[in-house]
């Protein structure tokens, strides 16, 4: 891969941040804008960082790729696919303009999350621009690295509130030799939840699972032999895969006219929403609800089960987007935010007030 020598965009951003910091302003960091819906709305000067793109280093045998944050997710996935590799966490794009920076900052992962790991699990290093206009590097390009606190991984899901991600090194994984999808009838969610969790105790090559409208789907990925043997043991009806539409939320379940709520729960928790329009994935850990609901009451109910709820799409204005944090934890996280961004320049209030 070509090393990109042009640092002009980085320099420009540094200058811009320093001047915003000096004048007491704030900015909204924009990559592709595909995940702008994810979090509280921000009133700040939008700054487009998507021009900061380019592959810095990719050596397939190292299983590591280093990218500027403005790279398009779809282009990088195509590059990886050319070497029979991929991102393990199967990130949703929600638009072809999605960037690597936005992917890392949002921390959103797709159907393979429960089986292959989160974006955080695959981040090895970042280069970021902090609120003082300084360029900092944490982590590196190697898989094992315990020098200093793991700040690189802290960036995942921080929604741009700690700094501008300039570059990121990610571990990649080989593409599976083979993949197929099986379907099973499970009338109610509890049948699915019990079945999918019991399945987890056996070393089947599961790479995704989903339940909605009385039907479970299971994706098996791996070697020819491993998958074939699992099919023999698991039975089920082989069907055409629909995982791409789950990942991008274009399945019929995701009705573009209705509010969408994401509930996160320990995977084996029994169904809490019988009778509601529900889609369950990640082996039971991620449960989507489509339709109007009282999110405050829902949050109380799921918190009692060690879960949380996110007002993911189309909830009324004024509803807190993310599940509120306990007071002491919010104070700790505000202090962490201030340590990177003392003047509160970056995406202020994107996650919580003061965060």
């Amino acid at each position: 891969m070509n090393e990109i020598e042009d640092l002009s965009i980085e320099d420009e951003l540094c200058t811009q941040i320093s001047s915003v910091a000096a004048t007491g302003g704030a900015i909204e960091i924009i990559g592709g804008g595909s995940k702008r819906f994810y979090g509280e709305p921000i009133e700040a000067l939008p700054i487009d960082v998507s021009a900061h793109s380019g592959v810095i280093d990719y050596d397939p045998a190292e299983l590591v790729i280093t990218l500027r944050a403005g790279c398009l997710v779809t282009e990088i996935e195509a590059l990886l696919a050319g070497h029979r590799q991929m991102f393990g966490f199967e990130p949703p794009c929600f638009g072809k303009e999605a960037t690597i920076g936005g992917m890392v900052a949002s921390g959103l992962a797709g159907p393979r999350r429960a089986y292959a790991g989160s974006i955080r699990d695959f981040v090895l290093g970042v280069k970021l621009l902090d609120g003082r206009g300084q360029v900092l590097r944490f982590g590196g390009r190697v898989i094992k690295n315990v020098a200093g606190f793991d700040v690189a991984r802290l960036m995942v899901g921080s929604l741009g509130t700690l700094g501008i991600i300039l570059e990121v090194s990610l571990r990649v994984v080989p593409v599976y030799e083979t993949e197929l999808t099986l379907a099973y009838e499970h009338d109610n969610a509890d049948d699915h939840l019990r079945w999918i969790n019991e399945l987890g105790s056996e070393p089947y090559p599961v790479s995704a699972s989903m339940w909605s409208a009385g039907r479970s789907q299971l994706r098996l990925s791996g070697s020819e032999q491993g998958v074939r043997q699992a099919v023999k043991l698991l039975g089920g009806e082989e069907i055409a895969p629909d995982w791409q539409r789950l990942r991008e939320q274009t399945l019929d379940f995701f009705d573009p006219g209705l509010p969408l709520t994401r509930v996160s729960l320990p995977p084996a928790k029994p169904d809490m929403f019988p009778g509601k329009t529900q889609l369950i994935e990640w082996g039971g850990a991620q449960r989507w609800l489509s339709g109007d609901l009282d999110i405050a009451a829902l949050r109380d109910a799921v918190a009692a089960e060690d879960g949380s709820a996110c007002a993911f799409r189309r909830h009324p204005a004024g509803v807190p987007f993310f599940h509120p944090l306990p007071g002491a934890m919010l104070r700790l996280q505000r202090n962490i935010k201030s340590s990177f961004d003392p003047a509160g320049i970056f995406n202020p209030g994107r996650i919580y007030p003061g965060l």
Partner: protein
């Protein structure tokens, strides 16, 4: 430190701890003077052995009030001096908190106290067909709390990840004695993800008092093949060729000739003592897929220049092949009065260059080095053989170790893959990180521990320490490796 202060504090702690849980006699304190890095020793004021979370909270409240440094300690197997006591502070040993609290077979997780040994978790759940994946070589002895503090790895982490990847929740007592929790059993966290900060924080951000670990189904089949090579370069290249085939081995380890000889003398694993390098490659999965992949790997090894490949015939031989690798450190301990273990990680493609550099340094310093290598993830463990009884040899060894770490940084790597910074690699931290980066580490620490009482003096060097290190290592105004790219 006057005895009166020690005695006064001991009586305060005895208000809520059993008498024998407060160690204040110098003869008993001696057992806690060092961890696995025995070159560094310090006597603490007191050693405290709480039995439950409530006692840990009370200890922290008193230490907070008294501004007493607190060094938490698990099994004391750290190789970087992470649990080295502070002369003015207490050692908080979690050894008595060693119960497995809950095993949830359906959710495939276990809630354990920090003093539980790594291997004890897998032993406790094996009847369910489950195990805890990270397996540092010290897994018989090391505790899960220590594993969390150091983000311990092991020989299977290329495929199964580090400690971070196998932890679902932590309960932590903060520096002020208050509890906070990070619960990611739902595969989600609200706000910032603090798990990667806590895991690997070397006891500087809180006292881990409860750990929820992920359990995995035991693979149906695991087989090992050994490749024998005339050169370490060919062995290294073969690793890249295996990965290029799309195979992620469960474990892939390399040993060079001195390490092979030492291990063979010790455990008689049947290693070829004339080989320049061996690769031990483990594949796991279903019987059918392992048979196919083993054949593929054998083929790649031969194509890569292996003069011989040996397939472990049965489970006994598989364990025998591993026993030599797992016993490499003590094996080296048998052929030298002392040895010093280095823990750099490099991009795999830099292996030949780094090993050549290590050889040159070995000759320059006149000290023998044996190399063991987690080949899949680039984590290199050169073992420097020395004799501490020879005047100045420890200092020479440390200098050589530092040179090797700087070589790793130079080749795009890092100074510690899995052993932690501790007290040992503070100087090299000044090379790997810039001042603003180190300041950010200090700032994060102060968010959790404003009084800086948790494991002070470890992991992150102060400005003064770096000035001192640079003064020692910068000659005639020249920084080592001026073209250094640190990312």
């Amino acid at each position: 430190m006057s005895l009166t202060r020690r005695q006064k504090l001991a009586s305060r702690f005895r208000e809520f701890l059993a008498g024998e849980s407060v160690i204040d006699q110098p003869t008993s304190l001696a057992a806690y003077e060092c961890d696995g890095l025995s070159a560094y020793r310090e006597q603490p004021l007191l050693v405290l052995l709480p039995e439950n979370i409530d006692q840990v909270q009370q200890i922290m409240r008193l230490c907070h009030e008294q501004r007493l440094p607190v060094v938490s300690r698990g099994a004391g197997t750290s190789l970087s001096g992470g649990a080295l006591p502070h002369a003015e502070g207490v050692v908080l040993s979690l050894a008595k908190m060693n119960r497995i609290l809950e095993v949830d077979a359906l959710s495939r997780c276990a809630v354990v106290e920090p003093g539980v040994r790594n291997l004890a978790i897998s032993e406790a759940v094996s009847a369910l067909g489950l195990y805890y994946a990270p397996d540092p070589s010290s897994q018989i002895a090391c505790s899960i709390g220590g594993n969390v503090a150091e983000n311990a790895g092991g020989v299977h982490c290329l495929k199964y990840g580090l400690t971070l990847h196998n932890i679902l929740a932590l309960k932590v007592v903060g520096s002020d004695g208050e509890i906070f929790e990070i619960d990611q059993r739902s595969l989600h966290s609200d706000g910032y993800d603090l798990m990667p900060l806590l895991v690997g924080s070397e006891g500087m951000l809180g006292i881990v008092v409860e750990v929820t670990v992920k359990l995995l189904p035991i693979p149906r089949c695991a087989r090992v093949v050994m490749g024998v090579f005339d050169s370490v370069e060919q062995a290294g290249d073969s690793v890249a060729m295996i990965i290029a085939e799309g195979i992620i081995p469960a474990g892939i380890e390399m040993m060079d000739n001195p390490a092979i000889r030492a291990a063979e003398d010790f455990v008689h694993a049947g290693y070829p003592v004339d080989a320049e390098a061996i690769l031990i490659c483990e594949l796991d999965g279903t019987e059918e897929e392992v048979v196919v992949q083993i054949a593929l790997v054998e083929n790649v090894l031969r194509k890569g220049g292996a003069v011989e490949t040996r397939l472990a015939r049965d489970e006994a031989e598989r364990l025998l092949f591993w026993s030599g690798r797992k016993a490499a450190f003590p094996a080296v301990g048998r052929i030298s009065p002392d040895y010093y273990c280095i823990d750099g990680t490099i991009p795999r493609k830099a292996l030949s260059a780094v090993l050549a550099g290590v050889r040159a340094l070995s000759e320059e310093y006149g000290l023998r080095i044996a190399n063991v290598f987690h080949a899949g993830d680039g984590n290199l463990h050169p073992l420097i053989l020395y004799d501490a009884n020879n005047e100045g040899e420890l200092e020479k060894t440390e200098e050589l170790g530092s040179k090797i770490l700087q070589l790793c940084i130079h080749h795009g790597g890092t100074i510690t893959g899995e052993h932690g910074v501790g007290v040992e690699k503070l100087g090299e931290m000044c090379v790997q990180f810039s001042e603003p980066e180190r300041n950010q580490f200090h700032a994060i620490r102060e968010c959790f521990d404003p009084l800086k009482i948790l494991n002070p003096g470890k992991a992150i060097p102060t400005l003064a320490r770096c000035a001192e290190f640079n003064a020692m290592h910068v000659h005639a105004g020249e920084v080592p490796f001026p073209d250094l790219e640190r990312f």
